[in-house]
Symmetry: C2
Subunit: 349 residues, 2 copies
C-alpha cells in the first residue's frame, strides 16, 4: 500500500479495540472446508449458468508447462472461439475488418447502430486469454459486445503472444497501436481497455504512455484485470476452488511464465500493480465475489484513487473471473456494460 | 437482482463459452480447506494487527441466545468501549456533549479543528454493534474519528436497542433524529451514515424518508453495512472463518433475532437490501477482501446504481468487517476517511 497517504503523527489514533487479546497470535491461518450454496441474490440467468457448471477443481492440470502442448491447446480453443465470434457478429449485425495499425494486426469492429453520442469516440480493445489464447478473430468477442451494446466503434488489437512472443512483444504491440491512434485523434476521445490479461496490458500501456509523455486515454476499462500475476493477493487464496473460470493461480501460472520470458512475476512488466499509477485517466473496474482476481482488481482501484485519479469499482454478487460476460444474456452482463457506457459518456470528450 | 435493467430481447447475446461442457453439473459446492497467508500488499500496521489476531473461529459461541447473558456481555463491552471513547476524545481534543433531539438521546461531537469547508455541514452518525452493543458514549467512537479526521461536526445517535427495545424502536429513533435535523437545516448539508448495524439503520432511515416525502441527506455513508441479516450472500460462506471481526453468520444471528422481534430476517426492516433503492442520495461504501459482509455491501452498491443514483465502493485488501477502523492508525484507515471526505466535499452543499 505504498501509494496510500503516509502516516501523520498528529493523527495518532491508536484506540482500536483489540480482538480477544487473551489469545495467542498465530501465523498463516488454516481455513477449514465449507459448503458454498448457489448464489441466491443473482439473476436467474447467472444462477442457472452456475448451476450447470461443474465445481471448480483448483488442482486441475490447467495450462501445460510444455510449449507444444500449449500450442495444441490454444489452436483448438481459438478455433472454437473464432466460430463463436463470427456467430455473434451475424446475430448482432456487427462487422469486423482486419487491418494493420502501427505495424500491428488489428480488427475494426463496427456495430449495426452507432450511438450518435459516440460518433467521435473509439474504443481500443485489448483482449484477454492469459497471454496465450484468443489470437486472430477469437480475440474480438468482448470488443463486439462493447461495440454492440454501447454503440461505439472499436479497434481490437491482435497482439503477438507467448509462447512464441514473450514480453515485451505483447506490450510493444498494444502501445504501438495506442500511440498511432492518439497521433490521429484526440486521446480524450479514445477509450482503452479489456478484461483479464487485456486489463494487464492496457494498464501497462497507460503507464508507458505516462512515462513517455504521451496523452493518456479519456477513459480506461479494466475488467477483472490480471494486474498481479504473482501469488500475492488475498482472493487468490480465498476464492481458490470457487472461481469457475480460473480455479487457482497454479491453473494459469505456466501461461504467465511463458509470457514473462524469464522476468520475476512481480516485475511491473508482468504485474503492473507494482508500478506507479500517478497520472492515470478515469478508470472503470469490474469484479465479483467469486473472482480469483478480486484482490488484483481492488488493489488497482485503490492505487489509482490513492494517486488522486477517478476510479470506479463494481463488485457483482456471484460473479467469477469474467462472469459479467458469461452468460452474455444475464442482467449482470447488461448492467456491467450499461455502467461502462455511463462512465464513457461522462469521461470521453 | 430485481433492480437490474430488464432483459432486452433485441440484445439476445447468448454466445458465451460454456466451461467444460463435457462434465456433469453439480449442486452446492463443497469447498476444501486452504491456507490463507498474511496479506502481503497491505500496510505494516494492518499486517501486524492481523498477525497479532488469533485465527477466527467460525464455531465460536458468539452472541448468546439468553437475554440476561446478552445484557451481561453488553455491559462489560460497553464499559470498555466508553473508556476508549473518552481516551480518544482526550487525545484528539474532541468534545462530546449529551443532548436530546426529537425525543432521542444523542451526543454532539465537536472536533478540535473544524474545516471551514464543513462549517455548514453536519454528519449524523449511527453507530454499529449488532443492534445490541455501544449504548451511551460507547457508540461515539467512529463519530469522533470522522469529526476529527474530516473536521466536521457530528451528531451520534444513542438509539434504543435489543433485547429491551427490538424493532421498530431503533429505526424510529434514527428516523426521529434525522427528521428533526433536516427540519432545521437543508438536508443537502447533512451527511448520514455509520458502519455495520449503523449502515443498516441509516439505509432504512433513508428508505423511510423517501417513502414519506422527506428530503434525503446530501450524502450517505455505509461502512460494511449489515444490509442483509439473513443467510443470503456469497461472502457469508466464502469469508466464514476468515473475517476476524465477525467469524460467521451464526456468531451474531442471535443478536439479529433479538433486534428483529419476531420478523423474518429477510423482512426489509431487518435486511433493507430487499427494499427499493429508488431515489437514494449519493452513497459511499467501504468493505474489504476478508469482510463477511462484502456481499451485503456490494449488493447495496449495485442496487443503488441500478436505481440510477451515484454509489462509490471501496474494497480494501486484507480488510475484514470494520478493519478500516482497526487499527485506527493504519494507512488503510486514513485512506478510507480521506476518501469519505472527498465524497462529502463533492456532494454536500
Amino acid at each position: 500500500m505504498s501509494d496510500l497517504p503516509p502516516r501523520d503523527d498528529t493523527d495518532d489514533l491508536e484506540g482500536s479495540i483489540p480482538i480477544a487479546p487473551d489469545r495467542k497470535p498465530t501465523g498463516p491461518w488454516h481455513i477449514g472446508p465449507r459448503d458454498l450454496p448457489l448464489p441466491r441474490d443473482v439473476s436467474d440467468e447467472l444462477r442457472e449458468s452456475i448451476a450447470a457448471t461443474p465445481q471448480p477443481d483448483p488442482d486441475e492440470a490447467g495450462v501445460p508447462d510444455d510449449e507444444d502442448a500449449v500450442r495444441a491447446l490454444v489452436a483448438d480453443m481459438d478455433a472454437l472461439a473464432a466460430e463463436q465470434v463470427r456467430a455473434l457478429c451475424d446475430r448482432v449485425g456487427a462487422t469486423i475488418t482486419p487491418n494493420v495499425i502501427g505495424g500491428v494486426d488489428v480488427f475494426h469492429v463496427s456495430p449495426a447502430t452507432l450511438d450518435p453520442r459516440h460518433e467521435d469516440h473509439l474504443f481500443v480493445y485489448v483482449h484477454g486469454g492469459g497471454f496465450i489464447l484468443n489470437a486472430g478473430e477469437a480475440g474480438a468477442m468482448e470488443a463486439i459486445v462493447i461495440a454492440h451494446r454501447i454503440g461505439i466503434r472499436a479497434l481490437s488489437i491482435d497482439y503477438r503472444m507467448a509462447p512464441d512472443h514473450p514480453l515485451p512483444a505483447p506490450v510493444d504491440d498494444v502501445s504501438a497501436v495506442y500511440r498511432q491512434v492518439v497521433s490521429e485523434r484526440p486521446a480524450a476521445a479514445v477509450a482503452l481497455g479489456g478484461s483479464s490479461g487485456g486489463g494487464n496490458l492496457s494498464t501497462i500501456a497507460v503507464q508507458q504512455a505516462i512515462r513517455d509523455g504521451i496523452d493518456v486515454p479519456g477513459a480506461l476499462y479494466l475488467g477483472t484485470p490480471g494486474n498481479d500475476m504473482s501469488d500475492v493477493g488475498d482472493t487468490l487464496y480465498i476464492n481458490r476452488g470457487i472461481d469457475r473460470a480460473i480455479p487457482s493461480h497454479e491453473s494459469y501460472v505456466n501461461a504467465v511464465r511463458f509470457h514473462a520470458g524469464g522476468r520475476e512475476l512481480t516485475d511491473p512488466m508482468v504485474s503492473p500493480v507494482y508500478e506507479s499509477f500517478e497520472g492515470f485517466p478515469p478508470t472503470f473496474l469490474v469484479s465479483g465475489t467469486r473472482d480469483l482476481l478480486l484482490s488484483a482488481t481492488a488493489r488497482t482501484h485503490t492505487r489509482i484513487r490513492a494517486a488522486g485519479s477517478i476510479a470506479d469499482l463494481l463488485v457483482l454478487e456471484g460473479v467469477a473471473h469474467g462472469d459479467y460476460g458469461n452468460p452474455l444474456n444475464s442482467p449482470e452482463s447488461r448492467f456491467t456494460y450499461a455502467e461502462l457506457n455511463k462512465f464513457l459518456l461522462q469521461h470521453l470528450s
